[in-house]
Amino acid sequence: MSDIASRVKAIIVDKLGVDENEVVTEASFTNDLGADSLDTVELIMEFEKEFDIQIPDDQAENISTVGQAISYIEEAKK
């Protein structure tokens, strides 16, 4: 697992209070991990802070799974 992936997963475990095993690539924040709309906003903000990036709102709307978050951040950090 890449460094980015492990840091993303750690944030999700912390913020959503879910078990690490549940945070798989395909897992949806809202459908699988119990996040509501505010949790999702908070996750995006934590990603921005952790990786020192800006995620515009229109792009944040497309990040709804663990895998999408990891891909987006890996791309942004290239």
Partner: protein, 417 residues
């Protein structure tokens, strides 16, 4: 229209002198002070460096960490105390009509620490607003009642009362009235506050409202004592389950006492100073007695607002003498803020609970820290100084007065008096 009777069937408390009802009552009758140096933040630059914080309280023993993170401390305290009260009421949830159960909570300020932290974070940032999405729903003063309703599915009337230090007495009176008028059968009510923060201490210090007795915090809250010089900030919560009398009897509930009446008034005088003659305080007690259909001579005791401020204690003592006349000398008066400190919006709830338990146990908690009589306060009044007193209490009134000149008073009485 015939008004329905309302009784108390559940109690919960989270206070600086005890983290549940039993511990709170033990603290009260043993004259325990909850004051100590502030541990929540470095207060060394503050004029007042002590407060009545909670002791040995870990929220994660009560609320899932993920849920707790989305709540300000004031809402966490509401959840913990209301859970104790609801458990105490011992409902059969399968038979409870949750559309007829409401929540009216009180808080003077709401999520002060949350507000403070978000603003500090913004001020330290580059100026690009990065507010947490939970900022508003953590901070707003109504959210505690929302959380309680969500947890239990209580779908009846639900709102929060804000009247500074009278907030939870107003909540209690409103809850009482909603049941009395038939809008609900059960109400969870009470109040919570968590203002022991940088902003809370700094703000009250700036008003010269707080005691600065940093060399001896435990004797700082000394209502009616000649050398009192301000209140001691406290925090925590109190919760009560009110229930329509027949509803409670039908399910065989344990009944602590009956709510007899509630009174409200305004000083219409000054934003923070009490009326010097206590006119608002006098009216609120008269309004309460009228609502309860009782005479001043029916009353055994008054849990005073008694915050340990120079002006407030005199005004309230005068008001009591105006209302009760000669009977005032036979009352057991007490100011339990001498022990708990001033829980602001939660004060009314924990003091109503102290009044109820004084009826249940036949013991009046003391006003501790009395050293010297104040010549401006009639020394023939019995303030229950320093030691709890045994007495068969049948009717007790609880006063609370808030900044803004809001006054609220509730009367509790033995069932079938």
């Amino acid at each position: 229209m015939k008004l329905r009777r309302v009784v108390v069937t559940g109690l919960g408390a989270l206070t600086p002198i005890g983290n549940n009802i039993q511990e709170y009552w033990n603290g009260l009758i043993n004259g325990v002070s909850g004051a100590a140096p502030i541990t929540y933040f470095d207060a060394s630059n503050f004029k007042t460096q002590f407060a009545c914080e909670l002791k040995g309280f870990n929220v994660e023993n009560f609320i899932d960490r993920k849920e707790a993170r989305k709540m300000d401390r004031y809402a966490q305290y509401a959840m913990v105390s209301s859970e104790e009260a609801v458990n105490d009421a011992n409902f059969n949830f399968d038979k409870l009509d949750k559309d007829r159960v409401g929540v009216i909570w009180g808080s003077g300020i709401g999520g002060l620490e949350t507000f403070q932290q978000e603003v500090i974070d913004f001020a330290r940032s580059s100026g690009i607003p990065k507010f947490n999405p939970f900022f508003i729903p953590k901070m707003i003063a109504d959210i505690a009642g929302g959380h309680i309703s969500i947890k239990y599915g209580f779908r009846g009337p639900n709102f929060t009362t804000v009247s500074a230090c009278a907030s939870s007495t107003n909540a209690l009176i409103d809850a009482f009235n909603y049941i009395r008028l038939g809008h609900a059968d059960v109400m969870v009510t009470g109040g919570s506050e968590a203002a022991v923060t940088i902003a809370g201490m700094g703000g009250f210090n700036a008003m010269h409202a707080l005691s600065t007795r940093n060399d001896d915090p435990k004797t700082a809250s000394r209502p009616m004592d000649k050398d009192r010089e301000g209140f001691v900030l406290g925090e925590g919560a109190g919760a009560l389950v009110l229930e329509e009398y027949d509803h409670a009897v039908a399910r065989g509930a344990r009944i602590y006492c009956e709510i007899g009446g509630g009174g409200m008034s305004a000083d219409a005088h000054h934003i923070t100073a009490p009326h010097p003659e206590g006119f608002g305080a006098k009216n609120v007690m008269l309004n309460c007695l009228r609502d309860a259909g009782l005479q001043p001579t029916d009353v055994d005791g008054v849990n005073m607002h008694g915050t340990s401020t120079p002006l407030g204690d005199i005004a309230e003592s005068k008001a009591i003498q105006h209302v009760f006349g000669e009977h005032a000398y036979t009352l057991n008066l007490n100011a339990t803020k001498s022990m708990t400190g001033h829980l602001l919006g939660a004060a009314g709830a924990i003091e109503a609970i102290a009044s109820i338990l004084s009826i249940v146990h036949g013991i009046v908690p003391p006003t501790i820290n009395h050293f010297t009589d104040d010549e401006n306060i009639d020394s023939k009044l019995n303030f229950t100084f320093n030691q709890a007193q045994k007495r068969d209490m049948k009717v007790v009134m609880s006063n609370t007065f808030g900044f803004g000149g809001h006054n609220a008073c509730v009367l509790v009485k033995k069932l079938d008096l």
